[in-house]
Amino acid sequence: MLAYTVRRILVSIPVLIVSTFIVFLVVINSGDPVANFATSRQPAPSKAAVAAFARHIHANQPVMERYWNWITGVLHGDFGPSVQANLNIGHDLFTRFKVTITLVAAAMILALIMAVVFGVFSAIRQYSAADYTITFFGFLFLAMPVFWFAVLLKQAGIWFNEKTGSQFLGTIGEKSPYLEVDTTWNQFTDHVGHLILPTITLALVSFASWTRYTRASMLEVLNSDYVRLARAKGLRRGKVMTRHALRTALIPLATVTALDIAIILGGAVITETIFQWHGMGEMLVQAATTLDVYRTMAWLLLSAVVVIGFNLVADLLYAVLDPRIRYD
């Protein structure tokens, strides 16, 4: 399994290089930060200042050289210059990643738990009223735009705070300002309070489709011979469900979860914008509006690494879930 993991990581390196190169071409060709710098400032900068700016953000280098300098720089921990003066992209990315990872992890755990619980329940009680209700809400959430739901939840949070006279459900930012001086317990509850609404928002992005997958794969497994055999030889229903059926049924879910991580990162951009978090979402939006090539690339590189990492974890999970699968 270790050899397999190492091989997979080695294979993903060329993929990462080619895909970042394509993205690099797209990003540097879809906007001109130098022209933006020359026209958008008041008073208009001098020719020399514009040239210095172009040199500073490497805009005067040939594409191949520029890409090479960037990718080798990244390996040394240098993510390249930002269009904003005094902004260290690597430091910025690291700080924001810590903020976003909390949200993404919490949302994924919540979505997975809900998907397994509702999906399995729906499959066991196929065609019952509960199954139809879950299916209906599944379709509804599949069709619901994240941003619309997020604004609605934010309003509900404000209403809840007003009714209870508390500040528990944070609707702005990932934590309250000036919190560093407070006790650890208060810091903790404050973080949790700010996390609840964005987590629910982001979880609902994937919960609906994951429930459908769990239901479908669970139904398939429940109708299989080995589950029938396990029941026929007298094992208890609950035991058959958890030990025999659920483990196999989770395999497609592991695949879909890994594939959907890019969608979740996209959803995080929207969620963070609405709840005004200072995470990676804000970073991407700012980088896109300021035509900041290296800041955009830092975001996309990190998300590519996360996507590749998740796919690897999913592949390794197959072996854990299904003993028939062995890697060597």
């Binding site: 080619v18 069709a143 619901m144 735009p145 604004v151 929207i270 609405i274 991407l284 939006v285 590749i308």
Partner: protein, 306 residues
Amino acid sequence: MTDIEAPGSAGTQLPPGEREFTVRQRTQTQLVLRRFVRHRAAMVSLVVFVLILLWAFIGPHLWHYSYEKYTEDNSKPPSWKHPFGTNSSGYDAYAQVMRGTQTSLKIAIMIALGSTLVGAIWGAIAGFYRGIVDAVMMRIADLVLTLPLFAIALVISSRTGGSWYWIAIVIAGLTWAYVARVVRSSVLSLREKEFIEAARALGASDVRIIFRHLLPNALGPIIVNATILVATGILTETALSFLGFGVQPPDTSLGLLVSQAQTAVDTRPWLFYIPGAFIIAIALTINFIGDGLRDAFDPRQQRVRQ
């Protein structure tokens, strides 16, 4: 595509017992249509979707307010004069929602058509020639699939300006690879069938085989995927427009309308809920139509329905 009358229905000489077991022969298209029509949720959804479509594209010509003209009423709740109310600058929300629905649908349909066209041809060629052509073409498609759709669309459309066709092109440029994958897999099995061998024996060219034999037979998965892409397209476009990277004012889209109304959920709720409800209605009906089509094209996969 005329019906071939089986002897039982036309012949009066046959004994009644034999008539019982003869069935009218139906073409593939008729079978699919019949199965689709019997899918209740899909049929209702189709009717609702077509009504929304007609309303959004014909409605603006009949309605007496324009989406870009101020009216004398500010922040009025829904009434007979303004069925969806007005916003704080006096725009008639009914006209705006109509225009927004039109723009969003236009973009979503363009995305579905564009990426289906490119993806289907790409996948068919890759699956038909196999070998090195397939390997190269599918690696390119895989590469596109690894790009995070929303993030890339956001980065590119922040630089291309807010015209609706650019948004459609950018999103379609990232979604065609899904179609290519699906079409390739069905072409891979189709190309081994006898009718392809027959066509080749008759001297049909590669182009003819791909466009006349392979693609029409892969139509089922292509159409199902196209409907899913309409739903993906509308949700992506509205999200981009919501963040300010999609459709720009004075033009409007459902996402932009929700974005402009997000501070007014309490004070002017009609501005927020109505465009949102339209997005949900469109995506929901499209999903049901896709579901019905999937069942109609592939009865083996059908979830048991009476």
